[in-house]
Symmetry: C2
Subunit: 175 residues, 2 copies
């Protein structure tokens, strides 16, 4: 159910993930949903976003250890996210962004989840920058995350990898 929710969320956000579609895609019956997620849709989406955030965070952390420098880490993530995005027909961008924009002002629990996920991503980025001796690790980590999230947004809006490629060419200036 969490995986089905995530797929639907990535395509169309909180409201794009109808509970009917979730139960249809997961094969589980309606009643089971409210047994496992008594908090209803809000809880289901919250746990799904947190789960997806941890997944991507793990990939980023692995890449942060493997990459030779911060530029390699960011360009690597951009390439990975670009593949995912294009292969899915411009559906799978950031699993957090859409929910964050839709619900940040409406739902306190979901805003908190989104904030935590982004905070953890900023943390792994900041740690790598600090380890490299970057002069402004905190400001730069947030800026880089904003740059990547913005690039994903523009890529989906244009249905093209071009924004990702342009950002990839310019990210070194920020680092």
């Amino acid at each position: 159910m969490l995986d089905a929710t995530r797929d639907l969320i990535e395509g169309g956000g909180y409201f794009g993930a109808g509970l009917n579609q979730v139960v249809a895609a997961s094969g589980a019956p309606r009643g089971s949903l409210y047994f496992h997620f008594p908090g209803g849709k809000e809880q289901l989406v919250g746990e799904s976003v947190r789960r997806a955030g941890r997944e991507i965070g793990d990939v980023a952390r692995e890449l942060a250890e493997a990459a030779p420098d911060a530029v390699g880490l960011v360009t690597g993530m951009l390439a990975l996210l670009g593949d995912r995005l294009e292969e899915s027909g411009w559906r799978r961008g950031c699993p957090v962004a859409t929910v964050a924009l839709e619900m940040a002002a409406t739902s306190d629990p979901l805003q908190e989840v989104c904030s935590e996920v982004y905070g953890s991503w900023e943390g792994t980025l900041r740690d790598r920058l600090a380890a490299d001796g970057h002069p402004e690790p905190e400001d730069t980590a947030v800026a880089v995350l904003a740059l990547v999230e913005g690039a994903l947004l523009l890529a989906r809006a244009h249905r093209s990898r071009e924004p990702l490629e342009r950002v990839t060419r310019r990210v070194a200036a920020l680092l």
Copy 2:
């Protein structure tokens, strides 16, 4: 009706703008909506996004003429957008972003509108950078737009101006 739609869109995207709320907020009756917008909700939202995009684009173009350099233009926009965002209780971010993420893969007309709006913003930014003799005006324009959009997203997710301030401090490196 277009203004009411825009307000609702900024808060919660395409699905956050129920037509019942639109007609209630605008004071117009239900039927009038489908007289003026025979294309239904898709047309209404599309025109509203285009209208909002032109508004912000106009502000950006004025600021592009008034600002002493590209850094001033971007920091000016960030300050303006930050005010709007905080004053509205973290509701009014980018009127295009949420719809773009929700509908880019679903609705061809709306994807086209979002792509055009972002394209026009990239254009004014690129022109100013080219006029300043910047070496990579096209790549940089897209990167700066991505940076600003990402900063707005993070600010809404965290319900804080901090991401905007951090990005403001680091944007000079990109320019």
